[in-house]
């Protein structure tokens, strides 16, 4: 029929002389093909992640332009020190990750394990700092929703229309708008950092498995795909934070 077919005995032919690598799955013909498939699959997955965060990114951009003052105000309430520290931690973990992959490429088992453990430690430091930051938000009622309160000195002009009007007579500063609009900032803050942290947690889990595998000596220069793929994922998570940090912490710091 069409696609006129001939049958080539692959196993006995082209690759017959090379023994199968133990890690070669049955449906692939060569290790090269298997590695290329994994790499492509991982990149396509990261592509979906880009669009996943892209939707949030647009929502952030829109409201930042609309409600710049509220965003600047809310952003100033975030601890820039912790944010910058976390950025450094995450970039550092990317370095250790890259070195772990390199160590696997060069069959240095001990180095691989060490770098991976360092990566996990740095990831946990990041998450720990995040916990501290979140706790602070809960304390200050900066979690959007029914209990949200924007700073006390900006007491919201809630109450009846009459009360609001009389407040206007006293020319008291009204926090009503900030009470509403900063909630948008914090809604985005929690959604963005929350999803990022979730990715971190998943990442730490994956790293745990990879570290264990590396410890067992599963990887060498002929097969290190899992380390490399986990590395791609880890770098991507770092990449997201590289954008989140200036967007959330550095809206406007000079006033």
């Amino acid at each position: 029929m069409s696609n006129a077919v001939a049958h080539a005995d692959v196993h006995g032919g082209a690759h017959g002389h090379a023994a199968h690598h133990p890690k070669l799955q049955h449906h692939f013909e060569t290790m090269e093909q298997q590695k290329e498939a994994s790499t492509l699959g991982m990149w396509v997955f990261l592509l979906t992640e880009v669009l996943f965060f892209g939707g949030l990114f647009f929502a952030y951009m829109l409201y930042r332009i609309w409600y710049f003052d509220a965003f600047a105000e809310a952003s100033r309430s975030l601890g820039i020190g912790l944010g910058a520290f976390n950025t450094a931690v995450l970039i550092g973990s990317s370095l250790t990750m890259a070195l772990a992959v390199r160590a696997a490429q060069t069959s240095e088992r001990k180095a691989t394990v060490t770098w991976l453990i360092l990566t996990i430690v740095l990831g946990c430091v990041f998450l720990g700092v995040k916990v501290v930051e979140y706790a602070d938000k809960f304390e200050h009622h900066h979690v959007p929703g029914a209990h949200y309160i924007w700073a006390a000195e900006h007491a919201p002009g809630e109450g009846s229309a009459g009360a609001a009007a009389s407040e206007a007579e006293h020319a008291a500063p009204a926090g009503g708008d900030l009470q509403r609009l900063t909630q948008i900032f914090f809604s985005l803050y929690f959604t963005m950092t929350g999803l990022h942290a979730l990715h971190m947690i998943v990442g730490v889990g994956i790293m745990g498995v990879i570290t264990w595998m590396a410890y067992k000596g599963r990887f060498d220069s002929s097969y290190y795909t899992p380390v490399e793929m986990a590395g791609l994922y880890w770098h991507f998570v770092d990449l997201v934070w590289i954008f989140l940090f200036p967007l959330l912490y550095l809206v406007e710091r000079h006033t």
């Binding site: 492509l40 990149w43 669009l51 951009m61 390199r102 590289i242 006033t255």
Partner: protein, 101 residues
């Protein structure tokens, strides 16, 4: 079977560059650049991201297909951002009636 192995020095220098850019972006936030504040912050983030993608994620040494996937994701992200923004940027504008009639 083995892919490109970068020298360790590459990773250390990229790490250094990333830290320097982080410092710059924090410093820039405390300077009033007027309308430039946001573009500068975004530009630095994009530079940092590019470094990570090219060197840590090895795209510089990857196949054309990988590069294509990266480009595709950016292209469709751009469609999402640009076309949605088009709506918001032109709301409230009067329709160009004279043009059409």
């Amino acid at each position: 079977m083995s892919g490109h192995v970068s020298p360790k020095s590459v990773y250390y220098s990229i790490f250094g560059a990333l830290m320097v850019f982080t410092g710059i972006t924090v410093a820039a936030a405390f300077v009033n650049l007027g309308a430039l504040n946001f573009p500068v912050a975004l530009a630095i983030a994009i530079i940092k991201a590019t470094l990570v993608v090219l060197f840590f994620m090895h795209v510089k040494y990857s196949s054309r297909l990988t590069k294509l996937v990266v480009a595709t994701s950016l292209f469709f992200l751009l469609i999402l951002l640009a076309e949605t923004f088009m709506d918001y940027a032109t709301r409230g504008m009067a329709p160009p009636l004279p043009m059409l009639q």
